[in-house]
Symmetry: C2
Subunit: 104 residues, 2 copies
DNA sequence: CTTATTTATCGTATATCTACGATGAACGAT
DNA sequence: ATCGTTCATCGTAGATATACGATAAATAAG
């Protein structure tokens, strides 16, 4: 009798799940839209546009940063956030690949 | 002075976040791949292919069902799961729309 | 009817997520 | 040096996610 149960998931599956997790809250979806619309944006500007406290927005930004979907550059006391187009492209490709495999 | 802080998120943002949440675990990514490869599949078959207990796999299936990405049809004591291509297409379109807006 | 098979659900433990106020750290301006 | 601005982090509370064994429910087969 052979053990067919695999030990873990593939790096690709884990990576795609991480991307999806970063996109799994409306606030983070909206943050990406805001950043792309303004091209570059201070944290404070984002807080103004979301129904959330500054600390909470900062946490959401951290999660988007962690997977590389956005980048924050320090500019004096402020921080300029912007979309990381390269990572975003990769994310899009990974998802497109999944959809192609799964249905379309 | 005007209050610029919105009260909540849009239905579209919430919906997209829900889809992303359903895809936010490697097991669920893999389940979708398995189902599409076999076209139709029993729960037990999926359990064999994942490094998880039956109860855990059942929970993951439930989450995919909840957002409509898969459908389970009862067949005697078994349940035949398959990808819901329609919902999958919609999910793909929603994500594509986001990526188009945000970067690509 | 009893038994075996298949799957969902329950109960439970641990971890992560989400949200906020308070505080700290970094910087520019005075 | 002090103050105001901006943002991250800490501490905390409650909710949700993840995993499993045990059990229940439904059906097919004997």
């Amino acid at each position: 009798m052979v053990n067919t149960k695999p030990q873990e998931f593939s790096a690709e599956e884990i990576n795609l799940a991480d991307i999806a997790k970063a996109l799994s809250h409306p606030a983070r979806i909206k943050i990406l839209k805001i950043l792309s619309a303004k091209n570059v944006c201070m944290c404070g500007d984002i807080v103004e546009l979301l129904p959330l406290a500054q600390a909470t927005v900062s946490q959401h930004l951290k999660k988007l940063k962690r997977v590389g979907l956005i980048v924050g550059e320090i500019d004096g006391p402020k921080v300029c956030y912007c979309v990381n187009t390269q990572t975003m492209e990769k994310a899009k490709e990974s998802l497109t690949k999944l959809f192609k495999k799964v249905c379309c």
